[in-house]
């Protein structure tokens, strides 16, 4: 039965080894199992030997499979577990080889110089077996010593494994080898010393070790099969992911590319080539790629990429590409650089996305915003229309009267050319005055792109005051200005800043007008330099802002006026923010509200 078990194990592992040729542990185990089977067979036939010579032959040849088992076990421990000292392994193997040599060269075998007779022995079960009796071979002690060497090797290996944190199953293999080998040594010693009447049963002590080893290996095989399954599953998942990724890339219309910096060659997926208008076969170099760009964007992109290559981090940017048919498309690119160990750039890879639609939408939005701002400005001017008409009418009235006066003077007999000369000068002055009004209006009503330029905020204030003075006078509101001298200039759009001031002044005058009991109220405008910013304050003597309203006054569509749209202040804040400034409101402790805005000073030195 034991033979059958061993042979089965031998076959099983031989089979596994045949399938997985690299798994030498299986061959070792297979050989061990085969050898153990042979040993069992031989010991069994030894117990039933008919004569002395037969037993002596069996006892001699049984050392051959023993040797094989011995070496295979050591190999197994070293190779499969990867532990054990090499010199111990060689020592044990050497000793065992020496034993084999002794076995075949001295006496009848390792144990006996000469077997004199066979001794029948009744074992359990009532069966009769024979055991050898005779003169012991003095060299036989080398046998147990070699086994002890094996035990030392295994114990040492198990200690190493334990320190490395090997599994309990593995340690069990070592322990069983150690224990049964020691048992074999003791058994051998006792039999040979004549203290125990028993046949040699060394092979039996190998069985548990064999089974333990086989268990470990089989367990590993099972596990590797399981791992293989998992691997297959994850490979399937990976493939799915790849498919999903490919789908996403094609759905998102991403241009995926990789630039071999060393050989200056760019690989791109088909979509990428299509996006940049480069035919499928054509080799792409960096300069070829640059050639597809809008000429205004080339220098900047090259500069940024050079910075990246010099170690300035990954490149991200937006640029325009001119397709072969002349169409202009906007792209955004995100890329990553790889360097070698000497910090030389190796590869740059990334994705490029066509963002033309988004860009167009954003530009439309800016246009929309400009339109809204313009509309708000036109509405503001609408509020001033009466005053503006008056502003224009006054010089026209003066011109007409002057011209008619001149006609009359010229009709007189004594023509007064001096007077006429003066009149003409006045007409020219009034004409200029009217033109200035129109110019101011046209400036405020224009709908151009925003134009940033260096401005003296005091001049902007003065212009706006001219515009609103008459309107405020009509409402019995005076306007006072306290303008700081030698203010630094600011960078801004004259019209937009005028719009903000106009809005704040008209808001202030509405607030002032709402306080009916005050006969004469005023709006004050102050400018000053506050650190690195130029600050402008528009204050009124109205009722101030309630705490509840204070949180909302800059929100769109919030208004306290019966006919207000509620866009003025929210647009003002947007405009000031676009100038990198701030706009806020505070209540004046003496009553009324103060609106402040700041603009970064353009020059640190004074004018």
């Amino acid at each position: 039965m034991l033979v059958a078990v061993s042979l089965t194990l031998a076959l099983q592992h031989l089979f596994i080894w045949l399938i997985q040729a690299r798994q030498w542990a299986h061959l070792a185990l297979s050989l061990t199992a085969l050898a153990v089977a042979i040993m069992i067979g031989m010991e069994y036939s030894g117990m039933r030997a008919a004569n002395v010579n037969q037993l002596a032959t069996i006892l001699r040849w049984v050392h051959l499979p023993f040797f094989v088992t011995f070496v295979a076990m050591i190999y197994f421990v070293r190779h499969y577990f990867g532990v054990g000292r090499l010199w111990l392994a060689w020592t044990a193997c050497g000793l065992r080889l020496f034993v084999l040599v002794i076995n075949f060269t001295t006496g009848q075998n390792l144990f006996f110089k000469e077997i004199t007779h066979l001794k029948p022995l009744v074992v359990f079960g009532g069966e009769t077996v024979v055991i050898a009796q005779g003169v012991l071979n003095p060299w036989y002690v080398i046998g147990p010593i070699s086994i002890l060497a094996l035990v030392v090797f295994v114990l040492d290996a198990s200690l190493m494994l334990w320190r490395k944190g090997g599994g309990a199953g593995r340690l069990f293999v070592f322990n069983s080898i150690t224990f049964f080998m020691l048992a074999a040594v003791v058994h051998l010693g006792l039999v040979n010393a004549g203290l125990l009447n028993s046949p040699y049963l060394v092979s039996l002590s190998f069985m548990p070790a064999l089974i333990a080893m086989s268990y470990t290996l089989s367990y590993d095989v099972m596990r590797s099969v399981k791992l293989a399954d998992q691997l297959q599953a994850s490979e399937t998942e990976l493939r799915k992911n790849e498919q999903r990724m490919a789908l996403a890339i094609s759905a998102a219309e991403l241009g995926v590319w990789e630039w071999d910096v060393v050989h200056d060659e760019i690989w791109s997926n088909d979509k990428g080539r299509a996006l940049f208008g480069i035919p499928g076969r054509e080799r792409i170099s960096f300069s070829r790629f640059l050639g597809t760009l809008h000429k205004d964007d080339r220098a900047l992109l090259k500069c940024r990429v050079d910075q990246s290559l010099a170690g300035g981090g990954d490149y991200e940017g937006e640029y325009r590409v001119v397709l072969p048919d002349g169409q202009i498309r906007w792209f955004t690119t995100h890329s990553h650089l790889e360097f070698d160990s000497h910090h030389c750039p190796l590869r740059m890879y990334g994705v490029s996305i066509d963002i033309t639609q988004r860009k167009q939408a954003a530009q439309a939005l800016i246009k929309q915003g400009n339109k809204q701002t313009h509309l708000a400005r036109a509405t503001l001017l609408g509020e001033l229309s009466m005053a503006l008409a008056h502003e224009l009418n006054q010089p026209l009235a003066a011109i007409l009267s002057n011209a008619q006066a001149a006609q009359r003077f010229l009709l007189r007999k004594e023509s007064q050319l001096c007077e006429v000369q003066e009149i003409l000068e006045d007409i020219i002055a009034d004409n200029k005055r009217a033109s200035e009004v129109i110019l101011r209006l046209r400036l405020l009503l224009r709908n151009d792109e925003v134009q940033y330029q260096r401005l003296d905020i005091n001049e902007v204030v003065a212009d706006v005051v001219k515009l609103v003075r008459f309107d405020l006078e009509g409402r019995h509101i005076s306007i006072t200005t306290t303008l700081a001298e030698q203010l630094p200039t600011v960078l801004g759009d004259q019209v937009l800043l005028q719009q903000v001031l106009l809005n704040l002044i008209l808001n202030g005058s509405d607030a002032a007008a709402s306080v009916s009991h005050v006969d004469q109220t005023s709006i004050s405008i102050r400018t000053c330099c506050d650190g690195n910013v130029v600050k402008v304050c528009v204050g009124d003597q109205g009722p101030g802002i309630t705490t509840k309203d204070m949180a909302h006054i800059f929100e769109p569509f919030f208004t306290t006026k019966p006919h207000g749209l509620g866009l003025g202040l929210s647009i003002c804040r947007t405009l000031i923010k676009s100038h990198n400034g701030q706009l806020w409101a505070e209540n004046n402790p003496d009553g009324g509200a103060n609106f402040y805005f700041t603009l970064p000073a353009y020059f640190c030195e004074r004018r």
Partner: protein
């Protein structure tokens, strides 16, 4: 008073407009005086100076319509010609009702303005003449004794001498003497003339106190 030359007073806050208007009116032969604000005009206002006022409506501080009210409050009858850049109808109606000569829109044509000024001067002349006449009558009325004034009241209300004598408890002859005296003092020759004069002076019949 009467012999001083009629002047066109021009009030407008816009210096170039004031200058141009004054120049135009001078070229048309008018005597002009210019003021930069309603307040400046009020400060120098002389009730006896003849002429008319060319007044801008929209001005800082006191505006044109407010100046009109202030002048009325002072008992002035100076004719006013309003000038405005953007006068609306209710505003002009109100101004005219308060006695304004005209309400002209800037820029104003010389012919319209000059016509309005002539009209203003005419009105000023009339009111001034009326005032002079009234002043003469009042001086004559002041000559009457209280008794004569009392009799006059009854006479203009159409009572006979006898009736008056009964009311006043005196003889008819005495009333006749009073009557003759008051006709002489008031320089009227007939009863209808006396009635007309009483109307002009606002003498109310049946009262002892007669007021102008």
């Amino acid at each position: 008073m009467n012999d001083s030359i009629a002047t066109v007073f021009i009030v407008d806050d816009d210096p170039s407009v004031v200058k141009a208007l004054a120049r135009l009116l001078r070229s048309a032969g008018f005597n002009t005086a210019t003021f930069a604000s309603a307040e400046a005009f009020l400060a120098l206002y002389d009730k006896d100076a003849p002429g008319c006022l060319v007044l801008d409506v929209a001005m800082p501080g006191m505006n044109g319509l407010e100046l009109q009210q202030a002048l009325i409050a002072l008992g002035s009858e100076l004719p006013i010609i309003f000038l405005t850049g953007n006068g609306d109808i209710p505003m002009s109606v109100r101004a005219i009702k308060q006695g304004a000569v005209d309400f002209l829109t800037k820029p104003v044509h010389d012919i319209d303005l000059i016509a309005a000024i002539h009209e203003g001067f005419k009105r000023d002349e009339i009111t001034r003449q009326a005032r002079i006449t009234l002043n003469g009558l009042q001086q004559r009325l002041a000559l009457l004794t209280p008794r004569e004034l009392e009799v006059m009241g009854h006479v203009v209300s159409g009572k006979k001498n006898k009736q008056i004598a009964d009311i006043l408890g005196t003889a008819e002859k005495t009333i006749k003497i009073h009557r003759a005296h008051l006709l002489m003092k008031l320089q009227v020759k007939s009863l209808p003339e006396l009635v007309k004069l009483a109307e002009q002076l606002g003498v109310v019949a049946g009262t002892n106190n007669l007021f102008i």
